[in-house]
C-alpha cells in the first residue's frame, strides 16, 4: 500500500484559552478527494492554516508521502507540494493572470525570462487539465470563476501534489461550481490529492471519496462518503439530530404589503446598481431574491431599508414612501413598519464592541418603553434583552456580553430577535444564515417561517440557492441590477435559477 499523501497525527492548537484544534489525526489517500466538513468555528480553517504554515501547531506531526515534514511557513508548504486555494483569493487585482502565477515563483532577478517560461508552461498545464484562462487578462477583468482557476493554476505551477480548497463554491454560480468540480475530478484522475473544506453537505455527498467531520476543534469521525448520509453527517457536525428541510405549509398570500415600481439605484461611483425593477410582496408570503453576490441585491435591500437613496416608487400597505430626502431614512422606515436584518451583521447589524443589550436597543431606542424621563431606561432595555435572548435561545443568554463574544449564529439570533419582535409588516432579511452554524440555521429558518405564517410579508435575499428554494414561496432572480425572472418556488429548480443567475434569460421571464 502506498503511503498516505498527507497524514496528520495528533495536531493540537490553542489560542489562549480556546482550543481550536484538539488532537486531530487524519490520513488522506493519494488520488482522492477528501472532504472536511464542520460548522463555523469548528476548527477547519485553523487546521488548514497549520498545514499551510500560517500557524504552528502546539503538538502533533505532519507526514507528507510517508516522511515527517515541518511546515514553519508558506514557502515550506509550497515546497512540500501543498497548494492552497483560499476562500478569499490571494490575487493581485491589477496584475495579469501570468504575473499572478509567477509571483513568488520567478526563476531569476529579471522578469521577462520568467514570464515567457511561465507562459509556455501554463499552456501545457491548461491542456493537461483543461483549465483555460487568458494569461494576459488582468484579474479585475475576469470573473470569480476564472480567478479561482488562476488560483488552481498557481498551485499547479508550483508543482503542488496536494490541493486544499477552502469553501471554494461560496462565490460561484451553480454552473461555475459544476465546472470547478469537473476540474477537480480531472485533477484527481491525474493523481492529485484534493482536500475540500466546505459546510455544504451536498458537495460532500456528491464529490468526495472520504469525509472527515469536525466539531468544536475535534475530529468527530472520518467515513467513506458512499457509506454515509447527509443526516448522519449533519448530526455528527452539530451533535444532535437536525432537521435539514424546513417544514413548509403552503402559503396563503393576502393583500400586497410591499409594492415596488421602476426602482433604480445609482451608487456613489455613478454606477447603476438597480435597474428599473418591479416587485410585489404580499402578506403571508416569502419572496426570495436569488443571485450571485454583487448583482444589486444589496442595494435593493439598502434602499428599502432606508440606508440608500433611489428613484421610482415604493408603497407599503398602499402608502407611498419617499425614496430620497426626508422620510427616506432608516428610522422612518422602521416607523413605517419595515424591519431590516442587514446582510452584513457585523458591519450593519451590530456594533461588535457594544454589549448585547445596547445592540438590542439600536434603532428602537426611541420606543416609549425604553424611556425614563429624559434618559434611556437601561434597566428596561436589559430586561427586554434578557427576555429576547431567552426566547431566541441565544447562548450564553447574558445581556452584558459584547456582541463580538457571541458566535456567528448567536449574533444573528440577536439581530433577528431585535427586528422580528417589533412585529413589522414587512421583514427585509439579507443573508440570514451567512456564517451561521447548522443548528442556528434551523432555528432562524423556523422563525422566518413562523413570521410568514402570522401573515407578514418577507423579502429574503440570499446567495445560497438552497436556502432560497427551501424558504421562499416565490423566487425572483437578480442579475446586473435587473430581475431576470420570477418563478414559484415549487415549480423551479437550482438548474433553472442558476441559468438566470448567470444572466441567461429564461423564456417568458
Amino acid at each position: 500500500m502506498t503511503a498516505p499523501a498527507i497524514e496528520l497525527k495528533g495536531i493540537s492548537k490553542a489560542f489562549g484559552p480556546v482550543q481550536a484544534n484538539k488532537d486531530i489525526s487524519i490520513s488522506v489517500e493519494p488520488g482522492t478527494i477528501h472532504g472536511i466538513i464542520g460548522e463555523n468555528g469548528a476548527g477547519k480553517s485553523t487546521l488548514m492554516s497549520i498545514l499551510y504554515g500560517f500557524y504552528k501547531a502546539d503538538k502533533g506531526e505532519i507526514w507528507i508521502k510517508g516522511t515527517r515534514t515541518e511546515i514553519p511557513d508558506s514557502l515550506a508548504a509550497i515546497s512540500a507540494g501543498i497548494g492552497m486555494v483560499f476562500q478569499h483569493f490571494k490575487l493581485v487585482e491589477n496584475f495579469t493572470v501570468l504575473e499572478n502565477i509567477v509571483l513568488g515563483a520567478e526563476d531569476s532577478g529579471l522578469l521577462m525570462p520568467s514570464l515567457s517560461r511561465a507562459r509556455k508552461e501554463l499552456k501545457e498545464l491548461e491542456e493537461e487539465y483543461e483549465l483555460y484562462v487568458d494569461p494576459d487578462k488582468r484579474i479585475d477583468e475576469i470573473g470569480v470563476g476564472m480567478q479561482q482557476r488562476v488560483e488552481i493554476l498557481k498551485a499547479l505551477y508550483r508543482k503542488a501534489e496536494i490541493l486544499i480548497l477552502d469553501e471554494p463554491t461560496g462565490v460561484l454560480t451553480p454552473a461555475e461550481a459544476d465546472q470547478l468540480f469537473r476540474i477537480l475530478d480531472r485533477l484527481r484522475s491525474e493523481g492529485k490529492t484534493i482536500i475540500l473544506i466546505t459546510h455544504k453537505l451536498r458537495e460532500i455527498m456528491e464529490y468526495t471519496d472520504t469525509v472527515s467531520v469536525m466539531r468544536r476543534g475535534q475530529m468527530t469521525a472520518t467515513v467513506k462518503t458512499a457509506e454515509s448520509s447527509p443526516e448522519q453527517l449533519a448530526e455528527l457536525m452539530v451533535g444532535r439530530k437536525v432537521l435539514l428541510r424546513v417544514d413548509k405549509v403552503p402559503a396563503t398570500p393576502g393583500k400586497p404589503i410591499l409594492e415596488i415600481e421602476k426602482l433604480s439605484v445609482v451608487d456613489s461611483a455613478g454606477v447603476q446598481r438597480v435597474k428599473d425593477i418591479d416587485l410585489t410582496v404580499r402578506a403571508g408570503e416569502i419572496l426570495g431574491i436569488a443571485g450571485v453576490a454583487g448583482n444589486g441585491q444589496s442595494e435593493l435591500l439598502e434602499v428599502l431599508g432606508g440606508m440608500r437613496e433611489g428613484t421610482g416608487a415604493i408603497r407599503i400597505n398602499g402608502q407611498p414612501l419617499p425614496l430620497s430626502g426626508a422620510g427616506s431614512d432608516a428610522r422612518s422606515r422602521r416607523h413605517d413598519g419595515i424591519a431590516h436584518v442587514p446582510e452584513d451583521r457585523q458591519r450593519e447589524g451590530l456594533i461588535m464592541d457594544f454589549h448585547a443589550w445596547e445592540n438590542v436597543g439600536f434603532g428602537y431606542h426611541r420606543e416609549p418603553e425604553y424611556q425614563k424621563g429624559l434618559f434611556l431606561d437601561n434597566a428596561a432595555l436589559r430586561a427586554d434583552t434578557a427576555a429576547k435572548m431567552e426566547k431566541f435561545d441565544v447562548r450564553p443568554p447574558n445581556p452584558w456580553l459584547a456582541a463580538k463574544s457571541f458566535s456567528g449564529g448567536n449574533q444573528q439570533k440577536i439581530v433577528v430577535a431585535r427586528e422580528i419582535e417589533r412585529n413589522p409588516d414587512l421583514l427585509l432579511i439579507g443573508q440570514p444564515t451567512r456564517g451561521v452554524d447548522i443548528g442556528a440555521i434551523e432555528f432562524i429558518h423556523q422563525q422566518i417561517m413562523a413570521l410568514r405564517d402570522q401573515g407578514k410579508a418577507i423579502l429574503l435575499v440570499s446567495v445560497e440557492l438552497e436556502e432560497i428554494l427551501s424558504l421562499s414561496d416565490r423566487v425572483a432572480v437578480m442579475f446586473d441590477g435587473k430581475i431576470m425572472g420570477e418563478r414559484p418556488a415549487d415549480q423551479t429548480d437550482e438548474k433553472e435559477l442558476g441559468l438566470l443567475m448567470a444572466g441567461v434569460a429564461g423564456e417568458a421571464a
Binding site: 480553517s45 488548514m48 492554516s49 499551510y52 500560517f54 511557513d73 508558506s74 514557502l75 508548504a77 509550497i78 492552497m84 483560499f86 476562500q87 478569499h88 490571494k90 490575487l91 493581485v92 487585482e93 491589477n94 496584475f95 504575473e99 499572478n100 509567477v102 509571483l103 513568488g104 515563483a105 520567478e106 531569476s108 532577478g109 529579471l110 522578469l111 521577462m112 520568467s114 498557481k154 477552502d166
Partner: protein
C-alpha cells in the same frame, strides 16, 4: 521674456525639480510597497543637515552625502519599526518623523556650530559643484577667453545655449536624479523585485501566501526611499545651497507627495510632475514681482504660487488617482 531668460528659468526649473524628483521617487518606492510615507519631508531635512554638517566639518562633500543618506535611512528604519514591525499607523509615524527632524536638526546645529541653527557656509570642496559637460561653454572657456561667461553665452547659437545652460553645468546629483527615473521604471516593471514590490502594495496576502516575506519587501522599499531622500536632502544643502538652514526643505516633501499622486505612482509621470512643480518654484524665484495690468502682485503671492497650484492641481486635475490598494494598512496575517 527673451530666449535666454527662458533657458535660465528652465535651468532653474531643473535645479528646483531635482530634490522634488528624488523625494517623489522615494515616495514611489515606499507607497508602491504599501507604506505611506508622509515623512519624506523629515528625512530630507535630516539628510540636509547631516550632509551639510559633515561636509562642513570634514570639508568633503562625499562624506557629507554619505552622512545624509545614513541619517535619512535611520529615520526610514524608525518608520519601518513603527509601521511594519509594530503595525502602527503609518501617517502618525510619518508625522512624528517630521517633527523629530524639524526639532533635532536645529537642536544639534545649535549645539555643534552655535550659528542660530545653521551650519557654517560650505565652500568649494564642501559642495557639489556644477559639472561641465564636454563642448559646453562654461567658466573655463570664459577664463580662457578672459571675458565674462554671460557674454560668451549670449553670443553662442541656440543649440549651444540650450546645451551649455540647460543640460550642462549641473551638479552630479541632478544627473543622478534624472537617471533614477528610468532606473526606477526598470526596477519596478522589469525585475522580480519590482513585481513583488508592486504586489505587496496591492495585496500583501498574495505575496505572503506565495512564500515571500512581506516584511522583507517593505523594509527594502523604505530602505530605498531612505537612500533617495538622503540624496535629495544632501542636494538641498550641498548642491542647491551652501549649507543647512532651519526648515530648509520648506514643504518639498509634501510637494513631492502631491507630485506622486499627480503622477499616479508612475516613474515617468513623476518626472513630468516634478518638473511642473519645479517650474512653478523657478518662476516664483525669478519673477518676484509681476506687474499685471497696472497692479503689482506682491512677492508673497509669487512665493505662495507653487503651493496654491499644488492644491489646485490635486483638487482639480488629477482625475481619479487610485493609490496602491494596500497602502497605509499594516499587514496582519489572516485567512
Amino acid at each position: 521674456m527673451d530666449f535666454l531668460t527662458l533657458i535660465q528659468v528652465l535651468d532653474s526649473t531643473v535645479r528646483m525639480a531635482t530634490p522634488l524628483l528624488l523625494a517623489c521617487l522615494a515616495g514611489l518606492f515606499s507607497e508602491r510597497a504599501g507604506i505611506f510615507d508622509i515623512g519624506l519631508e523629515g528625512k530630507m531635512l535630516m539628510a540636509a543637515f547631516f550632509s551639510a554638517a559633515v561636509a562642513a566639518v570634514t570639508g568633503n562633500v562625499w562624506l557629507g552625502l554619505l552622512a545624509g543618506i545614513g541619517s535619512s535611512m535611520l529615520l526610514s528604519g524608525l518608520h519601518g519599526l513603527a509601521s511594519i514591525t509594530f503595525r502602527g499607523n503609518q501617517l502618525i509615524s510619518g508625522v512624528a518623523l517630521n517633527f523629530l527632524a524639524s526639532g533635532l536638526t536645529v537642536l544639534i546645529a545649535e549645539s555643534w556650530f552655535q550659528q542660530g541653527g545653521r551650519t557654517p557656509s560650505l565652500f568649494t570642496k564642501g559642495r557639489f559643484n556644477g559639472i561641465e559637460l564636454p563642448f559646453a561653454i562654461g567658466p573655463s572657456e570664459a577664463e580662457a577667453a578672459d571675458r565674462p561667461l554671460s557674454e560668451l553665452i549670449k553670443e553662442a547659437n541656440v543649440i549651444q545655449q540650450l546645451y551649455s545652460e540647460l543640460i550642462s553645468g549641473h551638479s552630479i546629483l541632478v544627473y543622478v536624479a534624472v537617471l533614477a527615473v528610468p532606473l526606477t521604471w526598470w526596477i519596478l516593471f522589469r525585475t522580480r523585485f519590482g513585481l513583488r514590490l508592486r504586489a505587496v502594495g496591492e495585496n500583501p496576502a498574495a505575496v505572503d501566501t506565495a512564500g515571500v516575506s512581506v516584511r522583507g519587501l517593505r523594509f527594502a522599499a523604505i530602505g530605498i526611499a531612505g537612500v533617495l531622500c538622503g540624496i535629495a536632502g544632501a542636494y538641498l544643502a550641498t548642491g542647491l545651497q551652501a549649507g543647512f538652514v532651519k526648515e530648509m526643505t520648506s514643504g518639498r516633501g509634501y510637494i513631492a507627495l502631491a507630485a506622486l499622486i499627480f503622477a499616479k505612482w508612475r516613474p515617468w509621470h513623476a518626472l513630468g510632475a516634478c518638473l511642473l512643480f519645479g517650474l512653478l518654484q523657478a518662476v516664483a524665484l525669478r519673477f518676484q514681482s509681476i506687474q499685471l495690468g497696472g497692479v503689482s502682485i506682491p512677492v508673497q503671492v509669487m512665493d505662495a504660487l507653487p503651493y496654491i497650484l499644488t492644491v489646485v492641481i490635486l483638487a482639480g486635475f488629477v482625475g481619479k488617482a487610485i493609490p496602491p490598494r494596500a497602502g497605509g494598512q499594516p499587514y496582519v496575517k489572516e485567512r
